[in-house]
Amino acid sequence: MSEELNIATKQADSEKIEKVKLSLDKIKNKESKFLFCVPESQSPSASVYEIYFHATVVKNMGYNVTILVEKGDYVAPKWIEKELTQHEHLSLTDPKLMVGPEDVMIIPEIYSNVMEQTKNLPCVRIGFLQSVDYMTNSLIPGTDWASFGIHDIITTSQSLKELFETFYGETKYKIQTYNIGIPDYFEKSDKPQKPIISIIGRNPNEISKFVKLFFSKYPQYSWVTFDPMLTKSKPPQSMRRVDFAKRLKGNFAAVWIDRISSFGTFPLECMKSGVVPICFKPDIIPEYLIERDEKGVAKKMVEGAGVWTDNYYELPVLMNDVLVKFLDDSILPTLYESMNNVASKYTQEDSEKQLVEIYQGFINQRTSLFEQALTTPAEEVNEVEKNNKKEK
């Protein structure tokens, strides 16, 4: 009987070793899968764009990429460049969806339910944090990502990392940061800019109130147009990001009101396009407004990154100041230079380099784990597994 047990154990060990070998081969041959969960959003959202950007970076590294969506009839967003959305899309409930230990799943903060549902899957799961509000909205009080077995996190700024660690602990997670990249098609116009103001915000009431306050205080500028950055079709629709960039650079200034933004992509797009952003400071100060020392400690606010205020009711006055300066042609070239300096740190090229490093890190980590498993005697592996189970 014990001999039979021994044979069965050895067979099981050898099957395990074969599985590990197979997974390792798949990683080495770049046959492992990267699965990116994407929330459905037909209206432009920097966070959705960013997930597709990650997916494309990984695809360019030579790995298989699958986009996981909620519904089977999902249509890739039209406002994102086609090159970024040309991936296999699969529904999370699709029976074809199979994952192995060699695979990596990236789950954005909005999907805490997916984090929970996938906690028994054998793949590596990484949380992608772009918005603190989305994260907290989807979490039940008292839970965090570690409750779902997620310990690896990618996020878009040091500020977000620090904020996350403040509330969820510094030791439970390994958080990696990178800089978002603004596409090169956000560029300065070679034509003179027009007296039109782009206006973007999360809360339509705040946008409408701003416009009304501005026209009430400055009726002499009733001819000025605020551009909501939608298509001119009827009904107006969201623009493709490349068309958005083309429209943006022709306008001389832009207003941005988004209290809950966690990064603030739009002001950066403006700075890169030579458009003066007039912004209401969100609760989380954008990373690009923070000057840090060599150790990464915040020192002071960056100067010349457009016009920022923490008083909503000051926005119309600041808008007027910028408009008057534009009409008088007295906006200092140094403002455009400093805006360009700020934005130049956020290129897609740099972003891609940083992401390649992060994702390669996950692959290396997985590879060495499997290699270690293959070189460790089966008894030890079983012992480790037993201990792991006990801990859980």
């Binding site: 003179p192 027009k194 007296p195 039109i196 001819w223 000025v224 147009t225 534009f326 042609d329």
Partner: protein, 277 residues
């Protein structure tokens, strides 16, 4: 520089001398250009001595920065109304574009930089209107002019922002050509200014230009400062001496005459006299 500046002067005294000083100063203060424009002063024979004296004083003041070669003095022995003065001045323009500045007005310090930039960008545009700030005698801003083409509601659903269109111009007449940059060839093609039209001659030229498929665009920068309250200015005189009926007559006439290239004789007997009852 591919622009010349015409300054029509019909009389000369100390006040006008001061104004003219400011005009030349505003030209020489311009930044962002490698060259300053040619200036053409059109004047009647009776003030020739004063105009030459003025030119010489400016040459001494600015030296090489704005030398004698920059001035073209044109003695006008014919009619000295504004339109005739400008039309004569245009004959001496050797550049593709010209602008007209009234002697009591000023260019902004980036006027020529912006004009050059727009000429290079919008080569199909025939007339670039300048955004004008109207000031009072205390140099306080009163209002803007020519800015309305930048209002979406003004250009209409099918109109392009920044461009003047005939439909809108029929409804809103307050556009001025002071400080505008005009393509010389198109100005001549459409028949120049009409001296037979009073008050609404600029409006008539704009309508005529649009009727002849010219493109008119407002540079969205305040490029020109206009003293709106000088009592003896041309339009100041009109506002004092013309009844509302007469003003209406001239704008109606402008709409009719804009269909003709020639400066036709206007039958002013149709102007109805105001009857006080």
């Amino acid at each position: 520089m591919n622009i010349s500046v015409i300054i029509p002067v019909h009389k000369y005294d100390d006040k006008i001398s001061t104004y003219l000083n400011s005009v030349i100063e505003s030209i020489t203060k311009n930044v962002g250009v490698t060259e300053l424009p040619q200036v053409i002063i059109v004047y009647p024979p009776d003030i020739e001595k004063e105009i030459i004296g003025f030119r010489d004083s400016q040459v001494r003041k600015y030296g090489d920065k704005f030398s004698e070669a920059k001035y073209t003095l044109v003695k006008n022995e014919d009619k000295t109304d504004y339109q005739s003065q400008v039309n004569l001045g245009v004959e001496y323009v050797s550049t593709d574009y010209f602008s007209v500045i009234e002697f009591d007005d000023e260019f902004s310090t980036t006027y020529f930089k912006n004009v050059e930039q727009h000429i290079n960008t919008y080569q199909d545009v025939d007339i670039f209107l300048s955004m004008i700030i109207e000031v009072n005698d205390k140099n306080e801003g009163m209002k803007l002019t020519n800015e309305t083409v930048w209002a979406q509601q003004f250009v209409g659903e099918n109109g392009e922002m920044g461009y003047l269109n005939a439909k809108s111009l029929q409804q809103y007449t307050d556009f001025k050509l002071s400080g505008a940059v005009i393509k010389k060839s198109e100005f001549e093609n459409i028949g120049k200014y009409k001296s037979n039209i009073k008050l609404s001659f600029m409006y008539e030229l704009l309508l005529r230009a649009l009727n002849n498929a010219c493109k008119i665009y407002t540079i969205p920068k305040i490029g020109y400062k206009h003293l709106a309250t000088r009592p003896d200015s041309l339009f100041g005189e009109y506002s004092k001496s013309m009844s509302m009926n007469e003003r209406k007559f001239w704008f109606d006439t402008a709409k009719n005459e804009a269909n003709f290239i020639n400066d036709r004789v206007i039958d002013t007997s149709r102007i109805t006299k105001q009857i006080v009852t």
